[in-house]
Amino acid sequence: MIKWLRSESFTAWAFMTPGLLLLAVFVFWPIIYSIPLALTDYSVISDTHFVGLDNFEAAFKDRNFLISIWNSLLYVLIVPFLQIFSILMAVLVNSRIPGIKIFRTTYYIPVVTSMVAVALIWSWLLGKNSIVNYLLMQVGLISKDIHWLSDSNLALYVLMFITMWKGLGYYMMLYLAGLQNIPQDLYEAARVDGASRWRLIVHITLPLLRPYVLFCTLISLMSAIRVFDEVYVLTKGGPGTATLTSSLYIFQKGMEQFNFGYASALGLIVGAMIALLSIIVFRFNRKGGVNPY
């Protein structure tokens, strides 16, 4: 016992326990509890009845839910763009250009700004007679006001752009950490062998960044499917169902309409979908990285 108390593993557990307890209460337990909940018509404010798999059956017949899943999958399209642009930005800010720290800070500002504030600013920028429309009209790209957030063909892509704009700085920082972990002697050896700048990126930078790409792809994929704030603030899922995402629909069903049993079932379906996509991403990204040992 005394031996164990002095061991490294005890120290590790002691540090992890508070965090794990919080996770247990606020994350693991709600996930576990949502399973029995999904089998009921729980609404908090009235009597609860067991309904078996009715909620799941209703979910797959619910046109709005299927649309919301489709919109969430469309949202995943931002993931590759987000990764490519943030890697490029990381490479850019990793260079030794004078004043580069200012750029690093500037790119990171949207990350630390609250999503509600960001969404409101974009709503002003994209509204009727807004600065964006004015500038586009001045340069002759458009001939009349575009209703960016009221046009069902545009609204979802506008939201995707806003999400990407806000996330770029965050992923850039992660990739920057990755870039700075790559041993410089690898580059020097390659240069001695006459490798071009492009070959350095393709054969050294990208392979050694793979663990970071995997991590960033995974979290951005999950974030894309779970996107909520910007949709809730800017469009509330509209016009019609054009920007209705799965998280927003689950929120509406649970918190606005008190169908918590049904919302739990929807949450489990979306959770399973995220898990499946994560497994696929894992299978394609198992190699690469720097082995420190």
Binding site: L21, S150, G240, A242, M255
Partner: protein
């Protein structure tokens, strides 16, 4: 199983046990009775009324406690966005408040789930008769009244006289019908390039033209009619013609457009005045209030705040009595004077405060809207699962009007969706 795997399994089982143990803490039990030295303590919740109206409530609560020495009122106020979550969590943890201020939609939603007390069981015919019938009936579902109407608001037409005159129109002879309003909007758009008004695409649009949302029994959708197709196609055309702004404009957005003189009109309740006064003092100076142009139904729609008594309240009788006191004519008149709102009681509007105008915009709006209260009806009258129905209708309206989906097909699909909601 390896040693390592066994260790991991043990860890997992221990964590699960801990989670179950923790989650079983709290909750349970029955209704929480709050009796303090023989006194009953009533939890009374309002939405966004502190600190502006604290003096009024302190006065009215003190008055009530003096008249009812066995009752103590514990008043709490929550922001609009927080009250739903707060109420759900308190009901879930069996510490339900006793009297809660909710809007009609939320009250109807809770009523549909059987979560609030039926006021018809507790009120005498005289007490019921004190309220405007159209407003009182707004939360009656299957003969059960799920809320007492409290303060209310009816829409008036706010008009930017500068823009109206610039378009060659005379503000002294305002439009009286929606058709006339439409023509004014067309002329404004043609002459000065602004829109007539902005609006939100909600179920209210059906009510304005007298298209019932549900049948009399409230068991099925009733809006899939040729009149509805005409109304929606007409709205599409108005948007194409620049009479109505082509977007689903929430109230805050409407304030922005009016303040920026992008539109000449606003159809809103009295609260609009304060927003415009703050956002654009110059526009406020040029604004007048006139009776709202009516649609085919010739009704003026009200938008009420209600008081409900949750079914899980431990002191239902005392709670209903307090809710009746707070919504009686005397209390409502005093509150209207303090808060610039409209009362839902018939006797209140006999007060000179609601009949005399000093020509200010606030007074104009108040007098105009108070005189239309007898015609007022809440457009969500007794709709079960009102929130679900409203959100389905709003989505479909946006699809038809903004996304250009076929009106007849979308209405038919919406009818099916609403019928499914009503079966829940």
């Amino acid at each position: 199983m390896t040693k390592k795997a066994k260790g991991r399994l043990r860890l997992l089982v221990s964590m699960l046990a801990l989670v179950v143990l923790l989650s079983s803490c709290g909750g349970g039990g029955s209704k929480s009775e709050k009796v303090d030295g023989g006194k009953v303590t009533l939890q009374f919740w309002t939405i966004a009324l502190q600190p502006t109206f604290t003096p009024y409530f302190n006065r009215v609560i003190a008055d009530y406690e003096q008249k009812n020495p066995n009752v103590k009122i514990d008043w709490k106020d929550y922001p609009y966005d927080a009250v739903t979550n707060k109420l759900l969590t308190s009901i879930a943890s069996n510490s339900s408040p006793d009297v809660v201020n909710l809007n009609t939609e939320f009250a109807s939603q809770m009523g549909s789930k059987g979560a609030v007390v039926d006021m018809n069981e507790h009120l005498s015919p005289e007490e019921k008769a004190a309220y405007f019938e159209g407003i009182y009936n707004s939360t009656v579902i299957n003969g059960k009244a799920y809320a007492l109407p409290w303060y209310t608001g009816t829409e008036v037409l706010y008009m930017n006289t500068k823009l109206v005159k610039a378009a060659g129109l005379d503000p002294a002879h305002p439009p009286k019908t929606r058709e006339e309003l439409s023509e004014w909007g067309r002329q404004i758009n043609r002459k000065i390039g602004r829109a007539g008004y902005a609006q939100q695409l909600v179920s209210k649009l059906f009510a304005v033209d007298g298209i019932p949302i549900l049948n009399k029994e409230k068991t099925a959708a009733a809006f899939n009619t040729p009149e509805a197709v005409t109304m929606i196609d007409n709205l599409k055309k108005q948007m194409e013609d620049g009479i109505v702004l082509k977007e689903d404009a929430e109230f805050s957005q409407q304030v922005k457009y009016y303040a920026g003189e992008q539109v000449a009109f606003e159809l809103a309740g009295p609260t609009f005045i304060n927003f415009i006064k703050t956002a654009a003092p110059d526009v406020y100076k040029n604004t007048i209030a006139v009776p709202v142009p009516t649609g085919k139904a010739d009704v003026r729609l009200s938008n009420s705040m209600d008081l409900v008594v949750p079914a899980k309240s431990a002191h239902v009788d005392e709670a209903v009595k307090f809710a009746v006191f707070l919504t009686n004519a005397e209390s409502q008149t005093a509150f209207s004077k303090a808060a610039n709102t409209l009362p839902s009681t018939k006797d209140s509007i006999k007060d000179p405060y609601f009949t005399q105008s000093d020509k200010s915009l606030e007074a104009q709006a108040k007098v105009v809207s108070a005189q239309s209260l007898d015609k007022a009806t809440d457009y969500m009258v007794g709709v079960p699962n009102a929130k679900d129905v409203n959100s389905a209708i709003a989505r479909a309206l946006q699809n038809m009007v903004l996304n250009g989906t076929d009106t007849k097909q979308t209405l038919t699909a919406l009818e099916q969706e609403v019928n499914d909601i009503l079966k829940q």
